[in-house]
Amino acid sequence: MITAILISGLLTKARLDRAIEEMRHVAVGNSADENLVLIFNSPGGDCFAALRFLDAVRGDERTRRLAERAEVKIYDAHSTAALVAFALGSKWELSANAKIGFHLGETNVQVGNPDHFDQDGRLAAWIVEEWRRYRTAVTELMDRLGLSTDRKLQAEFWATGRLDLSARECLRRGLVSRLFCVIAHRRVSARGMNQG
C-alpha cells in the first residue's frame, strides 16, 4: 500500500470525505514503521468541512495516531488548507516558491434560506458557532506555531483577516523543517531543460 495521500484543489466536503476514507484505509493496512505522507496543493475551501474533517481524524484512535506521526509536504496551502496542513503531522516541508496563508475564514450564506437565517433575520446559530470554532482552531494553531507572540504579525492578521508567510519566513520561524526545489533547480538548469 502506498502511504501517501493527496489533498488538493478546492477543499469541499466531498474532497475531504475522500481524504478521510483514504486515511482510514491506510490506517487499517499500514505497517507500523511506515509514516503517512500528506501532500497539500490547495488554495483552501470550505471552513466547516475542514473542521469536520479534523474532528473525524481526531475522533478515531487509528487515524489520530497516523495523522500525528504524518509527514506533510506542502506545494501550496492557503486558508483552510493551511489550517489542516499544520493541524496534522509531525514534520513539514514546503515548496521554496510557496507562501502559507492563514485566514480567519469565510462562509457563503443564501438570503431566504431558512437553514442560514432565522426568522428574525439573524444568522443561524449553527453557522455562528461553527465559525467561532474555526476561528478558535486557527488562533490555537497560531499559538502552537509561535505566531501569536509576534505583535506585528498579530496586528496584520487581525486587521486584514489573513496572514501570508513566505517559505523562507516559515523556515526561519521553524514552521517547516526544510524547503524543497531550491538546490535542485540549479542542478536541472545544468541539464538543459528550460525552466520557463
Partner: protein
Amino acid sequence: MIRSILISGYLDDARLARVLGEILDIGAAAEPSGKLVVVFESEGGSLPALLAFMECILEDAPTRALIEGADVKIYEAYSAAAHLAFWMGGRREMAAGTKIGFHLPLLRLQFWDVDQDGQRVDAQLVKRGREAETLLAGLMQRHGLSEPELKTELYSSGWLYLTAEECFMRGLVHELF
C-alpha cells in the same frame, strides 16, 4: 527528507523541470533504502516537455533506477501524465471510479511550421511526433495493451480510455483506492 513527489496540473517545461529537480534532490539524499512515491493529478501536458523530461531521466542511471523502482499513486492521469505514470514505477495504485487516457501524439502547429506550397509539416516536428508514437506503442506493448481492438480504438479516435477497474483487471495497477 520526504520522499514523495506530486506531479500535477499542466505538464510544461517549467513544471517538469521542477519535478526533475525534486527527483534529483531525493536521489542525492543519503537514504538509499527509501522508496520514491510519485503522486499524479494531471490532465496532461506538452509533448516536447515530456520527451525532454524522459531523456533527462534515461541518461542518468541512478535517477533512472529511482524512477523505475518508484511507487505510483494516480488520482488523475491523462495524455502525457498517463504516459509518465505508466512509464515510471514498479507498483501502481489508482483512484477507483476514475479513468486514464492515452492518446496519439498531438503536434501544435504554427503557421511557419507548414510549407505553404507542399502543405508539408516541418520534418523535425514530424520526427518528434513519430518518436512519441513509438514510445507509446512500446508502453502499450509492455503493459499488454496490444490487442487489435484497443489499437483500433486508439487509431480511430486518437484516444484510448481505460477505467480504473479495467486497469486493475488487466494488471496495470496493483490496487484501487
